[in-house]
């Protein structure tokens, strides 16, 4: 049984200018222990579809799907109280801006222990021990001291490590990472990706990695979904996607990588005649 199954997910927003369809019929599934990358440019609906799974969209959004199930359990018509028991415990998420997503008014220790207080019955001392353990696991030096630090006293990379610690606090079965390294330097990006991959291999959790960086995809994913204008263009395992991209949009994305440049101008997505019909045929 797949960890997370989504069939025909549609998300619409009511705006002043009419209805905006941000996600248009996305289907995907994640198996246990698998790393799925969702690639697409901004506005392609990759974050929105995952926020729909988490139930974090504002009230202006209408979420429709034929099926949205986590471990066989329907997520669409879940009571909010029931949903809260799953979110943060079995499914957790790392957001793009580490500094903006931590609360500046509380210490990082408090914020890690908050998750534990909600979802486990550990007592105060045990929560503290677990928080130290987590900070150690994500590679923060002096974890005992750092529990009392505020987010502004840490660097961007360290804040992202704290976010990962919070996400991992209750041993999630599925981790959704929404552009976890976009705001970070290359060297720090490498460290964070290594850390995530290492933790994923050790705990065997499923992982969804949302990104627009093909380099990150190449370094981490098992399987890739390419999304464009809210629709799934192509889905393949990572090797065949890079070796034999089928959809023109995927080809365009790969050609736009500066390291693949031939000649003195980069091909852009606009140079490829784009039909936005998804590629469904067999792979050669």
């Amino acid at each position: 049984m797949a960890l997370l199954e989504i069939e025909n997910l549609t998300v619409e927003f009511e705006t002043a200018a009419g209805t905006l369809r941000a996600v248009d019929g996305i289907s995907l599934c994640v198996e246990e222990g698998e790393v799925l990358a969702i690639v697409g440019e901004s506005g392609s609906g990759k974050s929105v579809s995952m926020l729909a799974v988490m139930g974090l969209l504002p009230w202006t959004a209408t979420v429709k799907a034929d099926r949205m199930a986590f471990q066989g359990r329907d997520m669409l018509n879940l009571e909010p109280a029931e949903r809260r028991k799953i979110i943060g415990k079995d499914i957790s998420m790392i957001f793009q801006e580490p500094i903006a997503s931590l609360n500046p008014c509380f210490t990082v220790g408090f914020q890690i222990q908050e998750t534990l207080r909600q979802h486990t019955d550990l007592d105060r001392a045990a929560r503290r021990r677990r928080a130290i353990e987590l900070l150690e696991a994500v590679g923060i030096p002096d974890p005992q001291e750092r529990l009392g630090s505020f987010p502004h006293q840490m660097s961007g990379g360290q804040c992202q490590r704290v976010m990962i610690a919070i996400a991992l606090a209750c041993d999630p079965k599925l981790l959704i990472a929404d552009e976890p390294t976009t705001a970070l330097d290359v060297t720090i990006q490498k460290q964070i990706l290594d850390l995530l991959m290492d933790l994923q291999a050790r705990t065997g959790m499923g992982m969804i990695l949302i990104t627009h960086d093909m380099g990150v995809v190449a370094e981490t994913a098992d399987r890739v979904v390419v999304q464009y204008k809210g629709r799934k263009m192509e889905e393949a395992d990572v090797l065949s996607l890079f070796e034999r991209p089928q959809h023109p949009y995927t080809k365009a994305l790969l050609a736009a990588l500066p390291e693949n440049a031939v000649g003195d101008r980069l091909p852009t997505v606009a140079d490829f005649s784009l039909d936005d019909t998804p590629y469904t045929g067999a792979r050669p």
Binding site: E41, S42, G156, D185, V186, T187, I188, Q189, K190, L193, A201, H212, D213, M214, G215, V216, V217, A218, E219, V238, L239, F242, E243, A252, L253, L254, A256, L257, P258, E259, N260, A261, D264, R265, L266, P267, T268, V269, A270
Partner: protein, 275 residues
């Protein structure tokens, strides 16, 4: 030999931090003696992690901040803003494009006004001519005339970066300092902006100082590369020299950390994982 547009000799910038009644102040050495020479029409890429002083160096080259010590020469002319005010002619020569196109445009200013403002301040052109120049620049960076009267929030990130580039070019600068101009942009938009920069360089014979932490972009765009680490230039040479034979430990770490998107390295990774 072609002309040298930009030259710095042992450029140093210190920042003095804090210091109260009972606390001594601290000095941060942001840039510790950087020397470089850049010919007309070339692109110098400055690479380094956040906090290594690359933006401070950019601010000194753009004549926003005065260096603590060292010399800055633009077109062979010595510039020292701490002692002598700049002439409009000197100001015109160097322009800058900032990293975040969402923060660098005034949300209350229409695009036309954004483009005409440098002309109002630095030239005495009549209004009609300012307008004409703004229109033609708008077209040159790939926007349309109807964008003239719109506000920044009506544009996407890539379009805003085009506007920022257009504004920088209004005064026909010799040298354009680009402070991470594409790192906030998507891959496909990034390609468009890089192409635009290459086109403009060919057309106007511009010289670029391109600040970035993305080595794949640097490899694509740069003629010369400088790697900075804690305020020092640890590596400086042509692109081929730096990429084929990195000397400093940090440069090698940087190369190793850059994600590789070729089929071979994916194969290797999958093999490692299966093992």
């Amino acid at each position: 030999m072609s002309e040298i547009v930009l030259e710095t000799r042992n450029l140093v910038r210190d920042y003095v931090i804090g210091g109260g009644l009972f606390r001594p102040s601290r000095v941060i050495h942001a840039v510790k003696g950087v020397s470089l020479k850049l010919e007309k029409g070339k692109t110098l890429a400055i690479v380094g992690e956040s906090g290594c002083g690359k933006s401070t160096l950019a601010r000194m080259i753009t004549m926003i901040d005065a260096p603590t010590a060292g010399e800055l020469l633009i077109d062979g002319e010595q510039i020292d803003i701490a002692r002598k005010t700049l002439t409009p002619e000197q100001r015109r020569k160097v322009q800058i494009v900032f990293q975040n196109p969402y923060g660098s445009l005034n949300p209350r200013q229409k695009i036309g006004d954004v483009l005409m403002e440098p002309l109002i301040i630095n030239s005495d052109l009549p209004a009609a001519e300012r307008r004409d120049r703004a229109f033609s620049m708008l077209l040159k960076v790939g926007l349309r005339p109807e964008h003239f009267n719109r506000y920044p929030h009506m544009f996407s990130g890539g379009q805003r970066q085009r506007i920022a580039i257009a504004r920088a070019l209004m005064l026909n600068p010799r040298l354009l300092v680009l402070d991470e101009p594409v790192s906030a942009l998507d891959l496909s938009v990034q390609a468009q902006v890089l192409n635009l920069l290459a086109d403009l360089q060919d057309e106007f014979g511009l010289t670029y100082v391109f600040i970035s932490h993305d080595l794949s972009v640097v490899r694509y765009i740069a003629d010369e590369v400088m790697v900075m680490y804690f305020g020092e230039a640890v590596e400086y040479g042509t692109r081929e020299e730096v990429f084929s034979n990195p000397q400093h430990e940090y440069t090698r770490t940087l190369f190793a950390a850059t994600p590789r998107a070729d089929v071979e390295s994916i194969r290797r990774r999958l093999a490692r994982k299966a093992a």
